[in-house]
Amino acid sequence: MKWINENLYISPINTYIDPSKPVENAIITHGHADHAKPGHKNVLATKETINIMKIRYGENCAQNFQELKLNKTLKIDDVKITFYPAGHILGSVQVLAEYKGERINFTGDYKTKKDKTCENFEPVKCHTLVTEATFGLPVFQHPNEDNEIKKLLRSLELFPQRPHLVGVYALGKAQRIIGLLRQQRYDKEIFIHGALEKLCNYYVEEKIFLGNFLKTNLKDKKEYQGEIILAPPSAIKNVWSRKFEDPIICQASGWMSIKQRAKQSLVELPLIISDHADWNELTQYIKLTGAENVYVTHGREEAIVHWCKMNQINGLALSLSGREDEEDL
C-alpha cells in the first residue's frame, strides 16, 4: 500500500474513497449514510449515487458532482479509475484503481447474489483487494431470499387479521423487499413509512418495478389488517408502531439468522435477507480476484484476516471508524 493508505486515500490524485469527513476529492461507492457524507468539494460517483445523495442531503451537498458510468475508465493523471457494479443497492460500485501496473479494487459494500433492484455484481481481478466484512464470520450463510419472502407471505395467510410491520433500511432493503414480493406475484398495495417514500419514488424513476405503494396514513386501527407495511426498524421500535392493532413485527436483515438477536429485538418473524455478502461469498470472492493482499475495511475483520492466513494470503484489518452496519438499526 504505497500509493494508497489505511484511510482509503489515493495519494497520487489526492482523492479519498468514502471518506467520513468532508474532503476535497471523494469517490463515493454508494449512497448509504456511512459511505456517502455531505460536504465534499468534488464527488465522483455513478449517476444513481449522485441522485441519492442529492435526495438525502440536498442539491448542494457537494460543490461539484462528476458522473462515471459503469465499466468506463476515467484517467486522472497517472491513475485509472473504473467502476464495476457491486450488487449492493442501486448505483453501488466497486472502485478499481490502477497505477503503474498495480490494480487495487475497493469493493465498497457488495453482494454477489442476483438482485433485480440494481445492477448485478461483476467480479474483478486485482492484486490488492480492499473488502468489507459485515458478515465476515462463518456463522453467516444467508439462505435463499425467495424462501424468506415466502415466509412472510405464509404468515399473511395464517394471520389475515394482523398487520405485518417489516423493519427495513430505507435505502436499498426497502425496495428490494418490495421487488421480491412482486416477484412472488404479491400484487396488493404495499404500505410504507414516510421515511421511505422519496427513495422508493426514485427507484421507480430509474425504471425499477415496485408496483403500487402508498404512504401509511393511519386513521382507523383496523385499516391495515393483513397488510404489509415497511418501515425503518427505529420506527417499529418507537411510538409509531403503537398505531397498529396487534401487528406481527418482522425484520429483513442478515442479522436475523441469529435467533437470540431477533428475540432480543422482539422480532416475531425474522426474514434473513441481506444486501451484503455472506461468509461464503466473501471468501469465494477473495479467492476469485487472485489478490495477494486483502485489506478489510469494516465488519468482522478478525475472522477474514484469519481465513486469509489459512489460505496464504496477506490479510490486514483496517478497522475504519464510522462504518456502522446499516442493517443493524
Partner: protein, 521 residues
C-alpha cells in the same frame, strides 16, 4: 425433528402468552402420538437426555470447523446451540428421525458410534433442526414456556379444566398417551398412583381492604404466614417424599427429615430451618435449597423442620372435600400421635374481630420469621390452584425506599413498544449502585410517563438496554432484603415493585447504600 424444531422456534419468537398457547394447541392437534407426548415432556422439563456431554458435541464441531473461526463466531453469537447450528458446514441428504425416535436413539446411543451418528445428524439437519437438536442434548430449552403454560394449552386443546390436568399431571409419564386419549375424548381420565404423586396445592389470594366488609370474622381462622417454602409431604410405610410448590421432588435435599409411620398420609406445610421450631431467616434456608448433596455440617448448621398447615389424605382417604375445620382436627390427631423434632403444628391465632386481628398483625409480627397472616375460611375445602373466597394472605406492609431510575428495557407482548423493565439504584458515596429491577406496580398512566422519560433522557444504549439521566426518583416497595454476593451492591430485594413516581423529589434525598443496609438488613 422438523415439526418439533419449528415449534420451539415459533415459541421462542412469540412474545404473547395467548399466542404461545395457540401455537401449542395447533401442534397437539396436528402431531400424532407419541411425538406430541415427547415434545410435551421436553418443554415441561419432564424428560432429560443425560448421556451425551455437551463437551462431546463441541469436540465433534472442533474437528470439522477451524478452532479460531469457531471461537470468534461463538464469541459473537453468544449461544452455543446457535453457533453450532449456523456454522456447521456439511450437508447430507435425508431426513432426521421424528422426535420420539430421536429421543430413543440419543438415550441409547453407544460410545463407539456416538461421533459418527451425531456428525451425520448435524449434516442432515437444517439450521433450525440443528439448533433444536443441540438444545435437546444440552438440556433446558429456554424458550420462555413454563409447564403451566403447556398445561394451559393442553386444557384448551382438549376442552378440559386446567385443574383436572393439574391433579393428574404429577402422576403421569411421557409420552402421555393416556392423557391425550382423554383429551381427545377417546379414553377415561388417567388413573394415578396416589402414594407417589404430588397434588397441586391450594394457594391464597391477597387480602384487600375492601374485602373486610364482605367477610364475617366468625367464619375465619388465622395462622402465621411463615417465610419458608411451601411443601407437600407424602408419607407411606415410613418412606417420606417432600415436594416443592411446583411439584419438584426435593426429598434428597432434606435427608434428615424422618418419621416412623406405617400409614399413608399427605400433609401440607412450610419448610423452615431452625432449632426448637424457631425459624432462622430466609437466607439461612437458602443455604439448604437446590443442593444435590447435603453435608452433615449443613444439616447441623441449618436443621430443617416443617410447620404443618393441612392434611390432604389419610390411609388413602381423600380429605380434600372436607371442611378445613374437620381436616384441622384430623391433622391435630395425627400430629399428637406422631410428634417428633421435624414436625411442628402451625398455631391458630385467636381473634374476635377484624380490628383485633389488625392489632395482632401490627404488634406480633416478627420480622425475621413472618411474612404476615393467613386467613382461612373454616368451611373451605382443599382446592388446587388459587380459588377465590377461601384463603387470604395478609402480608405485612411492604417496606419502601426512594431510588433513582438508572436503566430501562422494553417489555414483552403488549408492552413491547414501552420501556417497562426498570433498574434502579441508590447512592454509594457519590456513585449510584443498582439495587434491583422492577417491571410492575405502576399503572398504565405511570407507565406512559416512565416510557416518555426514558425516550427523552437516554444517555447510552447497550443493545436493548437504555441508560437514562439519573434524575428520576421512584418509590420502590419490597417485601424484604437479603444480603447477596451475586449483586454488586451486596443486597437483593424480594418482590420489588414501583409504588409511586416521585418526580418531585431531588435525587440528593435518596438514601446511601450503607444506611440502607443498616436500616433493612
Amino acid at each position: 425433528m422438523r415439526s418439533f424444531s419449528e415449534l420451539i422456534n415459533k415459541l421462542l419468537l412469540t412474545t404473547s402468552r395467548n399466542r404461545k398457547v395457540d401455537v401449542l394447541c395447533d401442534y397437539f392437534k396436528n402431531t400424532p402420538d407419541p411425538d406430541r407426548g415427547f415434545t410435551l415432556a421436553i418443554i415441561t422439563n419432564s424428560l432429560e437426555i443425560k448421556n451425551i456431554p455437551i463437551s462431546k458435541i463441541k469436540e465433534i464441531v472442533r474437528e470439522t470447523v477451524d478452532e479460531e473461526l469457531f471461537a470468534l463466531s461463538y464469541d459473537y453469537v453468544g449461544d452455543l446451540a446457535e453457533t453450532i447450528s449456523l456454522i456447521w458446514p456439511n450437508k447430507e441428504n435425508g431426513n432426521l428421525p421424528q422426535i420420539s425416535k430421536m429421543i430413543g436413539i440419543l438415550k441409547n446411543i453407544n460410545k463407539n458410534e456416538l461421533t459418527r451418528k451425531i456428525h451425520s445428524f448435524l449434516s442432515i439437519a437444517n439450521e433450525t433442526e440443528r439448533w433444536a437438536l443441540i438444545k435437546l442434548i444440552s438440556g433446558g430449552l429456554r424458550i420462555g414456556v413454563s409447564s403451566r403454560l403447556a398445561k394451559t394449552a393442553l386444557a384448551k386443546f382438549g376442552e378440559k379444566k386446567l385443574d383436572d390436568i393439574e391433579k393428574i399431571w404429577h402422576g403421569i409419564n411421557p409420552p402421555y398417551e393416556n392423557l391425550f386419549k382423554w383429551l381427545c375424548n377417546s379414553g377415561p381420565i388417567p388413573e394415578i398412583d396416589l402414594k407417589n404423586t404430588f397434588n397441586p396445592m391450594m394457594l391464597a389470594n391477597p387480602l384487600e381492604d375492601k374485602d373486610f366488609k364482605n367477610l364475617n370474622c366468625n367464619d375465619f381462622v388465622a395462622e402465621w404466614k411463615w417465610d419458608g417454602i411451601r411443601v407437600q409431604i407424602i408419607i407411606n410405610d415410613s418412606n417420606i417424599k417432600i415436594f416443592s410448590r411446583t411439584g419438584d421432588d426435593i426429598s434428597l435435599s432434606f435427608p434428615e427429615i424422618k418419621i416412623l409411620e406405617k400409614n399413608m398420609v399427605i400433609l401440607d406445610g412450610e419448610l423452615l430451618v431452625g432449632r426448637n421450631y424457631i425459624p432462622m431467616n430466609f437466607n439461612s434456608l437458602q443455604q439448604r435449597l437446590n443442593r444435590k448433596k447435603v453435608s452433615l455440617k449443613h444439616i447441623d448448621d441449618f436443621p430443617a423442620f416443617v410447620k404443618l398447615y393441612d392434611i390432604l389424605y389419610i390411609n388413602n382417604d381423600d380429605l380434600r372435600e372436607k371442611k378445613w375445620e374437620e381436616r384441622r382436627n384430623l391433622l391435630e390427631n395425627w400430629y399428637y400421635k406422631n410428634k417428633n423434632e421435624f414436625f411442628d403444628l402451625s398455631k391458630i391465632i385467636n381473634f374476635n374481630s377484624w380490628k383485633n386481628l389488625t392489632a395482632i398483625r401490627k404488634n406480633e409480627i416478627i420480622d425475621e420469621q413472618h411474612e404476615g397472616l393467613m386467613i382461612k375460611r373454616k368451611s373451605s375445602p382443599y382446592i388446587s390452584g388459587r380459588p377465590k373466597g377461601h384463603w387470604y394472605k395478609w402480608k405485612k406492609d411492604p417496606k419502601t425506599v426512594d431510588a433513582i431510575l438508572m436503566y430501562a428495557m422494553r417489555g414483552h407482548g403488549k408492552r413491547s413498544s414501552y420501556y417497562s423493565d426498570f433498574t434502579f439504584g441508590i447512592w454509594d458515596g457519590n456513585q449510584l449502585s443498582p439495587i434491583g429491577k422492577a417491571y410492575f406496580g405502576f399503572n398504565d398512566n405511570e407507565l406512559k410517563i416512565l416510557d416518555k422519560f426514558v425516550r427523552n433522557n437516554t444517555i447510552k444504549k447497550f443493545g436493548p438496554v437504555r441508560e437514562v439521566e439519573k434524575t428520576f426518583v421512584i418509590e420502590v416497595a419490597f417485601d424484604s432484603v437479603n444480603s447477596s454476593t451475586r449483586h454488586k451492591s451486596g443486597v437483593a430485594l424480594r418482590f420489588p415493585r414501583i409504588k409511586r413516581l416521585r418526580e418531585d423529589k431531588p435525587t440528593s434525598e435518596v438514601i446511601q447504600l450503607c444506611e440502607f443496609k443498616l436500616d433493612f438488613l
